[in-house]
């Protein structure tokens, strides 16, 4: 079986490229690290990959607004190719800062060239960066291939600007669309995000932007409660429950990436 190819963007302050490459590799992709300068020199090269990952990090130091300047940089030379790429059905995965870039590019929740930008990701209500594992609910109406077979998952969030906001003058149709394409919601409000939205997908489900980090949960020992799992006699309590050992299934982040690999194989 030929493994699908993935491009993982790096440079300009992106900083989760290494673990994203490792995670995609575990999920069955053949990932390649591609510097922003390189992809802008030869944008059409993108067409040779089945998945483009925009990893987390602090592109351009998060100055002006998170994801903004990288989006500006990609916009001029890459956006047209990106439309073709998305139209073709290939996958785009924007994680954290990558999600912010996708919203700045106006590719979510609608990735048609004519679609106006309708959402922004801005400062958390608390005004603070937060690194914490959260429980996430997968929308039952989700058509996204990324979440097949999953209902509730745990992933870490690590962001200061993860609050999804809508255009103040957004029409009811726009609001409806955003809600429909919100594939992930925080089980509890953590940043003031509109409708507890943690992720958005596009009309076709092949572009996914999410604030939590799937690449950070590809083995059970990354989960904050994994040390409990070694001792299964413990009675269940409230809080993040883990069920480890192979019998407990695939770590949730890895599941998401494996679904992606399955979709483009």
């Amino acid at each position: 079986m030929i493994k699908p190819k993935a491009f993982v963007l790096c440079g300009d302050g992106i900083n989760c490229d290494a673990e994203t490459i490792w995670a995609l590799n575990q999920a069955g992709f053949v990932p390649t690290r591609v510097h922003t300068s390189e992809i802008l020199e030869t944008p059409r090269k993108l067409m040779t990959a089945q998945l483009l990952a925009l990893p987390g990090g602090f592109s351009f130091g998060d100055e002006i607004a998170s994801g903004k300047v990288l989006a500006l940089k990609l916009k001029e030379k890459l956006k047209d190719v990106l439309y073709d790429y998305i139209e073709r059905g290939s996958l785009v995965l924007g994680i954290c800062n990558g999600f912010q870039v996708l919203t700045q590019l106006g590719l979510l929740p609608n990735s048609k060239p004519s679609a106006p930008r309708t959402v922004s990701l801005t400062h958390n209500n608390s005004g603070k960066f937060i690194n914490k594992w959260v429980e996430l609910e997968i929308s039952p109406f989700s058509s996204s291939t990324f979440f097949e077979g999953l209902t509730t998952i745990h992933l870490p969030v690590r962001h200061g600007e993860g609050r999804l906001v809508l255009d103040a003058e957004a029409s009811p149709q726009t609001i409806e669309q955003v809600k429909k394409r919100a594939v992930l919601r925080y089980a509890e409000d953590i940043n003031g995000s509109y409708d507890r939205i943690a992720a958005l997908t596009n009309e076709r489900g092949n572009v996914l932007g999410l604030m939590p980090h799937p690449e950070a949960f590809v083995r059970w020992s990354q989960h904050p409660a994994w040390t409990l799992s070694k001792f299964p006699t413990r009675s269940e309590k409230a809080g993040l429950k883990v069920t480890v050992s192979p019998a407990f299934g695939i770590p949730h982040g890895l599941s998401i990436l494996m679904n992606a690999a399955k979709a483009v194989r």
Binding site: S37, G56, V69, N131, K230, R234, A238
Partner: protein
């Protein structure tokens, strides 16, 4: 009102619009911000300077030109913000509008000229993408609502009251305008204006002793008379005079040369106190003991490690590079370095801490042929904000220091993509004068790069010297001896540095790639002393270097040659290469500036040229070995401390109070703001367990994704014991670091340590009458380090000392307590054997395992009760070592379910934390607890008998080498047999009831603290924003 509107479609094309130089001011306000009812509204301000299209009003400019549309797209998010635009001096109509919105005052903050403005640099780069070429400055606008507390103030009083809240006077300009003012002076573009720099001057040393001292002070050289005389003697040499004359140099040094010598010989670079000859007097016994120490460093730090190296084949590079390097496997090595940035953090906490963390990142990046930073640590010593603290005009408010430092470390780590995996915060009022900010970084580097050792430098004759990264400005010139008199309008701020994590991240990515392509033969960072240190140091490899000043990229014109050489501008690395052209091409791809600035040779000197002619020519031997050794005296007399203690009845309340104390309570609010998981390798995080609130003793993570082995990182620090005996303090710090590492599963035979000393000035003087005592404390600390390192077999691989942690404004002198931070790094063969400290299952047996005696001196409990005890903790070093080795074996066998070290707050707090972490409970027998508490107690109980037998002693006393361990009940017999001959006491078991219950022999309850109460107490917030 000049407000931009939606761009019309028929804007004029730029070709038809003429341009003229000008400045534009832009405000970006959140939509509907005035409706929020907030008393203070803040928003972003920008000043744009350059060729602006000439199209009438600014509103038209924004709406009708490509320039305006580009600016609008770059600076604002139309979904959530609106953009206002005006010429800076014509903003009265803004005021008018804001007045109508109910605001009485408008304040604008702007960086002082020359202060690093990261936002502005990014805006410039973004605008360049849209082909708009302007220079940018960023700032903040504040609006204060009429009638509110601030809005009622006069502009002048708001400037005073707003200090440190809205601006920092060292780095910012801050001007307040009344919105009803007819005329007011707005801030305009903060350009740097410097006079034409003077050519290098000759500095005559033909001076008497007083003259030499005066010169040292006047030029901020920080050299003493002996050192000045040594320099004078050097330049009096006849042969040297001939050589210099032949190269067109004067007999006496140029200012460039004198500054280079002063930097190289500074305490910071040369560690003169650790190299000094010390006459040490020990007055512990009735007859005085006196002996000479020739270099504390060589005697107590270097020697034990060198002696241990026979047994430790994994030590690849110790004490010689920018960090210590240890073998990880055949292909990879790990390195670790911890630095302090105390004085800069006292002046400007955010910039100080940010440059601290970025600086130590560069130490790692500059190790061997370049290591990739894989973790950060941060340890802070602060004064807890309160009314009790000293308040001097030159001291920043304590909370300002806390918040600034925390934010600096957050931005430095998060924006660089380096996880902050381990840390500590220690509060003591004695840190009021100087906060201690320890920043550590570990890295990963290949053992071989293109068939050469990756952990060594291979600079050769003829290699090009390349500087990469940031540009040179006046930043950090003589930073330590900053004097505010020299500041004037338009002069760049030299003492304060703000880091640029984004530029450094680009440099980091570039260097790793360049290393792997074999383009780097040597690399070091530019920290203290700038190029004078980095090139001067690397010159020793080939025995010579020439530094050409002509091409060094500058932030702004007007720097004199000596300033270029010693500037400490950040984000720069110095590289030696044989393939500059290829290196430069790669740098361009990574958007990094790389400049050739000279070459290495073998002439035995460090030459500095301008237009091909030398402006400095220093003999390397003299530069690096010519500094005279300090001669110092120390005198140790045990301190006299009066005993004072009483009794307490309510142990529940005592426990809850302890849990809420600043040195014990949860660090969650700080930890959550650091990205501690980036790079995806974490195994044991700072907070674990089902509620993510189990405070773990050390970090475990996988340096290599594909490998099972885990790296363990921990720290130990106990300055609370310094006032009793610095020897005990040092033993405590090392033991704590090792103990913490062992707790999570580190193999003790793999542990390596780093030492970081932060001392009050230990040189006796008029202003420092107890200098000899402070030096004696240093001697005792070093003796302890040496003793415990031999006993534990844990070598020191790197370290640093900071010896002047005093605040002295001529009236008040505030000195930090002698503080030693010990950082540890170890290995766990299988990362998934790592342990967290939370209890795991009901029925598990709880043991106290120890090899040291408890005491009350320096404990949190004694501090809380305002008690004093001179009984200091004891430890059996040999026993402790064996205990850690044996414990590790049982852990790897899977016998241990949780392990937690007993530290601040004693056994009760440690048990409480394991309960908080798990949501389970513990039932403890008081009699067993008391039995464990008497292990290793002093033999001469005497007057201490009452104290030792007290229940509170068993609950709250502290001491080294003590652990709380849970074991499944089915292993009871095997476990206890294993520990025959050790102090291992069964004290109780884990239970379902969510509480800490301590039962007396008669079945009564001495303590019954509920989980809920303990969590609430422990989560008492620290005074961070």
């Amino acid at each position: 009102m000049t407000r931009s509107t939606q761009p019309s479609s028929d804007y004029r094309s730029p070709q038809t619009t003429s341009t003229a130089p000008g400045v534009l001011c832009i405000a970006v306000l959140p939509k509907a911000v005035f409706d929020s009812g907030k008393e203070v509204v803040s928003f972003q301000l920008y000043w744009l300077q350059g060729e602006l299209p000439q199209v009438g009003s600014p509103a038209e400019l924004m709406a009708e030109t490509e320039f305006g549309m580009a600016v609008k797209e770059v600076l604002s998010d139309v979904l959530i913000e609106e953009l206002w635009c005006a010429q800076p001096e014509h903003r009265s109509d803004w005021l008018e509008s804001w007045k109508r919105q109910g605001f009485s005052l408008f304040a604008e903050r702007q960086f002082q000229p020359g202060v690093t403005d990261n936002l502005a640099r990014t805006v410039e780069e973004a605008l360049r993408m849209k082909e708009v070429m302007v220079t940018v400055a960023s700032g903040t606008g504040f609006l204060f609502r009429e009638g509110s507390e601030k809005g009622r103030q006069k502009p002048d009083s708001l400037v005073e009251a707003g200090k440190y809240t809205y601006y920092h006077p060292l780095t910012d300009k801050f001007v307040v305008h009344r919105t009803d003012a007819d005329e007011t002076k707005f801030l305009t573009f903060p350009a740097v204006h410097l006079p034409q720099p003077l050519p290098p001057a000759t500095v005559s040393l033909d001076l008497d002793d007083d003259g030499l001292i005066a010169l040292s002070q006047q030029r901020l050289l920080a050299l003493n008379l002996n050192e000045m005389k040594a320099i004078k003697g050097h330049f009096l040499d006849g042969q040297l005079r001939t050589i210099r004359a032949a190269r067109g140099l004067p007999q006496w040094p140029t200012d460039v040369e004198l500054e280079v010598i002063a930097q190289t010989w500074s305490e910071h670079c040369k560690h003169k106190i650790f190299a000094a000859t010390i006459e040490h007097v020990d007055a512990t016994k009735s007859e005085l003991q006196k002996f000479m120490i020739r270099s504390l460093y060589k005697t107590y730090i270097q020697k034990p490690t060198f002696d241990l190296m026979n047994k430790r084949q994994d030590l690849l590079s110790v004490f010689e590079d920018n960090s210590g390097v240890v073998r990880w496997n055949n292909e990879w090595a790990v390195c670790f370095k911890v630095e302090t940035h105390n004085s800069p953090s006292a002046l400007e906490p955010y910039g100080g801490a940010l440059t601290g963390i970025l600086g130590v990142n560069r130490d790692v990046l500059g190790t061997g042929l370049g290591a990739k930073p894989i973790f950060n640590t941060d340890i802070f010593c602060f004064a807890y904000p309160s009314d009790k603290l000293a308040n001097r005009p030159k001291l920043l408010p304590p909370k300002t220091i806390l918040d600034g430092v925390r934010k600096g470390v957050q931005d430095g780590g998060n924006k660089s993509g380096i996880p902050t995996v381990n840390g500590a915060i220690f509060f003591d009022d004695a840190y009021r004068g100087k906060p201690l900010v320890f920043c550590g970084t570990g890295g990963l580097l290949p053992t071989t790069v293109h068939k050469k050792y990756g952990f060594k430098k291979h600079t050769m004759i003829g290699d090009t010297i390349v500087v990469v990264g940031g540009r040179v400005g006046k930043d950090g010139i003589h930073g330590a001896t900053f004097s505010s008199e020299s500041l004037h309008e338009g002069s760049p701020v030299s003492a304060v540095q703000i880091g640029d994590p984004f530029t450094q991240k680009r440099v980091l990515d570039f260097i790793i790639e360049a290393r792997d392509r074999g383009l780097i033969t040597g690399i070091t960072d530019n920290g203290a002393g700038g190029l004078s240190s980095s090139v001067g140091e690397m010159a020793r490899i080939t025995n010579g270097a020439t530094l050409e000043l002509d091409n060094i990229p500058l932030k702004y014109p007007g720097l004199s040659d000596y300033e270029i050489v010693i500037s400490e501008s950040q984000e720069r690395m110095t590289i030696s290469t044989r393939s500059f052209a290829e290196l430069k091409r790669l740098a361009e791809r990574y958007n990094v500036e790389a400049t050739s600035i000279g070459s290495f040779h073998t002439k035995g000197n460090f030459e500095i040229t301008r237009h091909g002619r030398p402006v400095g020519l220093l003999d390397l031997e003299f530069l690096h070995n010519g500094c005279p050794t300090l001669q110092l005296q120390s005198e140790w007399r045990p301190p006299l401390i009066e005993e004072k203690w009483g009794t307490v009845g309510d142990y529940n309340r005592a426990l809850l109070s302890l849990l809420s104390r600043p040195n014990i309570c949860s660090r969650e609010q700080v930890i959550r703001q650091y990205d501690h998981e980036v790079q995806g390798s974490s195994v044991i995080k700072p907070l674990m367990g089902p509620h993510q609130q189990a405070p773990c003793d050390a970090a475990v993570f996988r340096p290599l994704y594909e490998e099972d082995a885990g790296l363990v990182v921990s720290n130990g620090i106990c300055p609370n014991l310094s006032k009793y005996d610095a020897y005990v303090m040092a033993i405590g710090a090392v033991d704590e670091a090792v103990r913490n590492a062992v707790c999570v599963g580190a193999d003790p035979s793999t542990i390596v340590l780093l030492d970081n000393f932060c001392w009050p000035d230990p040189i006796q003087s008029e202003r420092n009458p107890d200098g000899k005592y402070k030096l004696a404390q240093l001697v005792r600390t070093c003796e302890a380090l040496s003793d415990i390192i031999y006993a534990y077999g844990t070598p020191l691989i790197s370290g640093k000392d900071s010896m002047k942690n005093d605040f002295d404004d001529g009236v008040v002198r505030l000195s930090v307590p002698p503080t030693l931070l010990v950082s540890a790094m170890g290995r766990i063969p299988q990362a998934e054997n790592a342990l967290s400290m939370d209890f795991k299952s009901c029925g598990d047996l709880i043991y106290i395992l120890c090899a040291g005696g408890l005491a009350l001196a320096g404990t949190e409990y004694a501090a809380m009760q305002e008690w004093e005890s001179t009984m200091i903790p004891k430890i059996d070093l040999k026993r402790a070592r064996d205990m850690y080795y044996k414990l590790h074996e049982t852990m790897m066998r899977g016998w241990v379910k949780s392990c937690h070290d007993v530290s601040e707050g004693g056994v009760a707090v440690a048990l409480g934390e394991s309960i908080i972490g798990s949501g389970l409970g513990a039932e403890i027998e008081l009699s067993a607890l008391q039995q464990a508490a008497l292990a290793y107690s002093p033999s001469h109980v005497g007057s201490n008998a009452q104290l030792l037998n007290g229940e509170d002693f068993a609950l709250f006393a502290e001491g080294p080498a003590r652990l709380i361990i849970t074991v499944p009940p089915e292993l009871k017999q095997e476990w206890e047999n294993l520990w025959i001959g050790y102090s291992c006491t069964l004290i109780g078991e884990v239970v379902q009831t969510e509480a800490l219950l301590v039962k007396t022999a008669d079945g009564g309850e001495l303590m019954n603290a509920s989980y809920t109460d303990m969590v609430a107490a422990w989560k008492t917030p620290l005074p961070f924003d």
